[in-house]
Symmetry: C2
Subunit: 214 residues, 2 copies
DNA sequence: GTCTATAGCAGGATAGAC
DNA sequence: GTCTATCCTGCTATAGAC
């Protein structure tokens, strides 16, 4: 028996499937690689999940969605005692809950890579991501920010700003290797804190576009 | 003979390889699919390019790099008669040369998807992308913007801003399907012009972070 | 629930005729 | 330079013993 210390077989398979799908993409990962890493038998994926594609979907359903839930809860907690928060407070909570929130470095990286993979090459999981995560969160952010804006700002313009903040955040996470090369420094803890500060300030100014125009 | 109207065999293979690698990723595309689309024989890829991986690299060397050259030339032309352009002029030229420049919609989409794929899952091509494109362009942008900044702004902070503009631009191109769903509208020509305007304004404000601080 | 064994197929690559 | 035919490897998925 090659039982590993933590978790039963399906859990261990999900762990390694999440990591490998994130780092290499769906097609580039084989069932052999996943079960090998999980220390389980080759047939385990098909027994427990039915197919490779079902396993991939289960990674999103079971792991990815619950991670976003933890991030959202952290976000809500940061704004819990502020009924009408300033825009800067909202952006700060957004960035902090995501980049410096409940997920550790590796989890965040895998989380973003999985999402980014779906955004670039959509499969069945995209619908889930958009409907269960992106749309509700967009709506919440829009509702939080709008009271601080002058009247008449179009919903579309506000949403483009919110999407942009996600875009930057994603980019600084999934393009880590290239950014490290361009910046000519390691993507270490210190750099990460600088990136977080940058994203917050840059985005806050960016969203102020809305209050300036007209 | 299944000779197609335009180009000889290697050219046609490069055409379809670029499109398919961009849309589906390296691993998800088979040589059979590429040669089938190009109307050439299965053995043609290995005869003309040696291997699938060499073909992928050649897509970057022959197509991707030359597309970036056209974008850079367009960028330079937009700033040709301005020896010390304002920051807003630089950003505008950046966004315009990229999003509304020499590449048509489909070319731009494939261009960005190829790049984004390498950034997320680096292969041998990343080094080429960073050294031949990202680093020189970063340097040029930094040199163009710096004269308009108060003294003492760190090179690092400026570079983070420039990277962020790329990040947003990439995001709005590669995540097209998801953005279309979140915005609840088609990603048509009208929407694209709105996105370009948004990116320009958002980024300009974002980069003004640098002049405000301290 | 876990294992071995294998079916059945698709993939990259190559040899050799033309 | 293009074609067919084929090799061989690796893949997903499943059947069936334990």
């Amino acid at each position: 028996m090659t039982q590993h210390p933590t978790g039963n077989t399906p859990e261990r398979i999900l762990d390694h499937a999440e990591r490998l799908f994130a780092l290499k993409g769906f097609e580039a990962v084989s069932i052999r690689e996943i079960t090998g890493a999980a220390g389980s038998n080759l047939a385990a994926v098909n027994y427990h999940f039915g197919s490779k594609m079902n396993l991939y979907m289960e990674v999103f359903r079971d792991r990815w969605i619950s991670r976003t839930r933890r991030i959202r809860e952290n976000f809500d907690r940061l704004l819990a005692d502020k009924p009408e928060p300033a825009i800067s407070t909202v952006i700060d909570a957004m960035a902090r809950s995501f980049l410096d929130g409940p997920l550790n470095d590796e989890q965040l990286r895998h989380h973003v890579l999985l999402m980014q993979g779906e955004l670039a090459q959509p499969s069945t999981a995209l619908k889930m991501i958009v409907e269960e995560v992106m749309q509700p969160y967009q709506q919440q952010l829009s509702d939080l920010i709008r009271p601080s804006l002058p009247p008449g700002i179009s919903e579309e313009k506000l949403r483009l700003c919110i999407l942009s903040i996600f875009g930057i955040t994603l980019y600084f996470t999934f393009a880590r290797a290239a950014i490290s090369m361009v910046m000519e420094r390691d993507y270490d803890a210190l750099f990460k804190t600088e990136v977080i500060q940058h994203i917050t300030k840059f985005s806050l100014n960016g969203i102020n576009t809305l209050t300036e125009e007209n």
